[in-house]
């Protein structure tokens, strides 16, 4: 009886002791030092190490501002940020995947950066970074890097198939040339699939990031960008339907694998001649193909349009920041060329500033990756700058998956439009004031 009573008493007391301990940890710190709370998605190891090093360097170089980093799991990052916004405990500075900015901004979670960013600093950023960070004519976010999306090719296969290798945006394949190239490459005995679309990444942001430029190349889009009030007639219009029917035919005709067993058909088994993927695969590609690796610009659409994807994680100062000047001081440090290069040397992304780009041979004129910069400067289109973006990307990604699996293109795009328009209607058109 005594033993049982003691056990029960312990059960009741232990949590109280632990809670008391947990709360005691939260108090502390000095009044003189401004603490900047930063949230960041977990990302890859190299990105984590680079940011940790940047924060350590900033904390060491001065003693007025202390930066504290909280790293949240990437798979649930947006949900956790939304919950924190709801409970009013957002940090001072947070990062987010590019197109989610507009929803955060519309909801009032961020402050504009225009007063902090000088004209010279603004001009030093790639235009794609400024485009991505702009909403309602104000600049809300800046990133350390942008992404590059193009077609990677196997030079040996291209030459064997007699396919011309374009080297610049102007020089890109016409639509007819691209289709002929796929046919010629598919005919090679060592090739199982002419092009790898990385369908193994699965339904998610990849589908919108990678395949919405195909829509735009044909003249369609994810939403009518004149007022962002409807996707009807744009996402399910004749141009978009033609784009997705052509895309579907690539899988049905055997040029692309809808269910690739792995990630390496281009650079490992070399059973794919082309790979439609971003900058992050440069390492494995160059390792697997060596001098045979070529980077090919986005092809021109049936009417000559040319569009490349863009956008990546970027930083914004929250409206709950008590010391926005101090937060900007840290963000400005993070966006310095040295810190940008510390990050991009680790994750292989395109440095966001020209003053950083010019310090790396790969991005200078004639460099292996200079094409990414050229595309970002000329033909890159940001994903729709609207608070409805989370709904748009979910609806489009689902449609893409079903279309690749053989569903009727018009039906799928109509369904996506219905979901998007319903969301906009439910939010009264996302009024800005």
């Amino acid at each position: 009886m005594v033993r049982r009573t003691v056990c029960i008493a312990l059960l009741a007391v232990i949590p109280l002791a632990v809670f008391a301990g947990g709360q005691a940890e939260e108090t502390g710190g000095t009044d003189e030092v401004i603490t900047v709370e930063v949230w960041n998605h977990s990302g890859k190891g190299a990105e984590r190490e680079a940011l940790d090093a940047s924060i350590a360097a900033f904390n060491e170089m001065q003693d007025r501002i202390q930066v504290n980093l909280t790293r949240l799991p990437e798979g649930s990052y947006n949900e956790q940020v939304s919950a924190a916004a709801l409970s009013g405990d957002l940090p001072d500075l947070l990062d987010f995947d590019g197109p989610f900015l507009y929803n955060y901004t519309w909801a009032g979670h961020l402050i504009p950066l225009d007063d902090y960013v000088s004209a010279d600093l603004r001009d030093d950023f790639l235009p794609s970074i400024i485009d991505q960070g702009t909403y309602d004519d104000q600049l809300w976010s800046l990133g350390q890097f942008d992404s590059g999306l193009a077609i990677w090719g196997n030079r040996a296969y291209l030459e064997e198939a007699g396919v011309r290798i374009p080297t610049s945006v102007d020089d890109a394949w016409t639509f007819e040339e691209f289709n002929n190239a796929l046919e010629a490459l598919q005919a090679l005995p060592q090739v199982d699939y002419a092009i790898d679309f990385k369908m193994n990444y699965g339904q998610g942001e990849w589908y919108t990031y990678a395949f919405s430029p195909l829509l735009q190349t044909f003249g369609g889009d994810l939403i009518d960008r004149s007022d962002y009030m409807s996707a009807d007639g744009v996402l399910n219009g004749p141009d978009a339907v033609a784009a997705m029917e052509w895309f579907q035919s690539l899988f049905q005709d055997g040029y692309a694998n809808p269910t690739p067993p792995g990630d390496d058909s281009f650079f490992g088994s070399k059973t794919a001649a082309l790979s439609f993927v971003g900058h992050w695969m440069y390492g494995p590609h160059s390792e697997g193909l060596g001098d045979d690796l070529v980077l090919i610009p986005m092809f021109k659409g049936p009417d000559g349009r040319q569009v490349a994807g863009m956008g990546s994680w970027n930083w914004g100062i929250t409206s709950s920041a008590e010391h926005p000047d101090a937060v900007w001081e840290f963000l400005e440090f993070l966006l310095s060329p040295e810190e940008i290069l510390r990050m991009t040397d680790g994750n292989g992304a395109v440095p966001a500033r020209y003053s950083a780009l010019e310090q790396r041979d790969a991005y200078s004129d004639g460099g292996m990756l200079s094409l990414f910069v050229e595309q970002l400067n000329t033909i890159a289109v940001p994903r729709p700058q609207t608070p409805a973006y989370p709904t748009i990307t979910a609806a489009f990604a689902e449609a893409v998956q079903n279309i690749v699996n053989g569903a009727d293109v018009q039906d799928e795009l109509d369904a996506a439009v219905q979901k998007i328009d319903q969301d906009i209607e439910d939010n009264q058109g996302y009024p800005t004031n």
């Binding site: 809670f19 709360q23 890859k44 790293r71 799991p73 798979g75 919950a83 924190a84 709801l86």
Partner: protein, 293 residues
């Protein structure tokens, strides 16, 4: 003699038929057992495959269930290198033990009072408990979030424990069990001078081990996999439980499936152990109450 000789071949035929039907039944049961075991086998086997490309290639077919190729513990090592798995594991176990442990005490005492004490409003309380069973947690998380934020509990242990200690379904299970325990036991103890606390602790509790085991397992399963609430109320790594921590691997493409399966395996095994430990009592309770998980 003649009678026995006649009965012999008939018995043999019957035995043969019975053996055949038993064999068919067992074959069917084995197929069903394999069907239900497949996901777990797939997870464990995949966690041991250290070649990520082979793992992805095998995921589309039967080879996903066969341990071959590069086999090792590399994926498990990577999980520990990439994150503070031990911390997250401790958090999940601590939250589970506290929630279920305190819950068993509180809910059983509440159910005991409903089953045995006579007071005004008792019938209404029983109805309210039954009604609350059908309210899913997801439907009340937003007001709950605002409430716990008001008291400053965000990112703590208590925010993951206290809201789930009182559980309508557990109370109902205890109540159902307690009202079947003959009142004669209570009355005998009361006549001998015992108070209600003594009756609860020394008479009711020893008789109720099966229902305690059932509630512990059912609540354990529910809390071990809880995702939405900790996602909303935890921030840093200090109080993060396993279901939120695994989201770190669902990051940039391509996914690290080996690490994901290793993480999932290490998350699943404790629950299997919990079930095996309480299995005897759990089965007893299922048999007596007709409740299953």
């Amino acid at each position: 003699m003649a009678h026995e000789a006649k009965r012999g071949p008939m018995s043999l035929a019957r035995r043969t038929r019975r053996s055949a039907s038993t064999a068919v039944l067992y074959a069917l049961l084995i197929v069903l057992a394999l069907y239900f075991l497949f996901p777990t086998v797939f997870m464990v086997v995949s966690s041991l495959k250290t070649d990520e490309l082979q793992l992805m290639a095998d995921m589309g077919g039967v080879r996903g269930f066969i341990p071959y190729g590069e086999i090792g513990l590399g994926n498990f090592q990577r999980v520990f290198q990439e994150m503070a798995f031990g911390r997250f594991f401790f958090n999940s176990v601590f939250i589970l033990v506290m929630t279920v442990g305190i819950g068993l005490l509180v809910n059983s005492m509440f159910a005991y009072s409903l089953a045995r004490l006579r007071f005004r409003g008792r019938a209404i309380l029983v109805s309210v408990v039954v009604a609350l069973i059908i309210v899913p947690t997801e439907s009340v998380v937003i007001p709950m979030l605002l409430m716990v934020n008001t008291v400053g509990w965000i990112d703590s242990y208590q925010v993951q424990i206290v809201p789930f200690v009182a559980d309508a379904f557990s109370i109902f299970l205890f109540y159902q069990f307690f009202i079947q325990v003959p009142k004669d036991f209570d009355e005998a103890a009361l006549i001998d001078g015992a108070g209600y606390w003594t009756v609860y602790a020394r008479v009711i509790l020893p008789l109720s081990r099966p229902v305690f085991a059932s509630v512990a397992i059912l609540q354990g399963i529910q809390h071990w996999g809880r995702f939405l609430w900790p996602l909303m109320v935890t921030r840093g790594e200090t109080y993060r439980p396993l279901p939120v921590a695994i989201q770190q691997f669902f990051s940039q493409d391509p996914k690290a499936w080996g690490s994901i399966f290793a993480f999932a395996t290490m998350t699943t095994i404790p629950l299997l152990i919990l079930f095996l430990v309480f299995q005897k009592w759990f089965v007893q309770s299922v048999a007596s109450s007709g409740v299953k998980g």
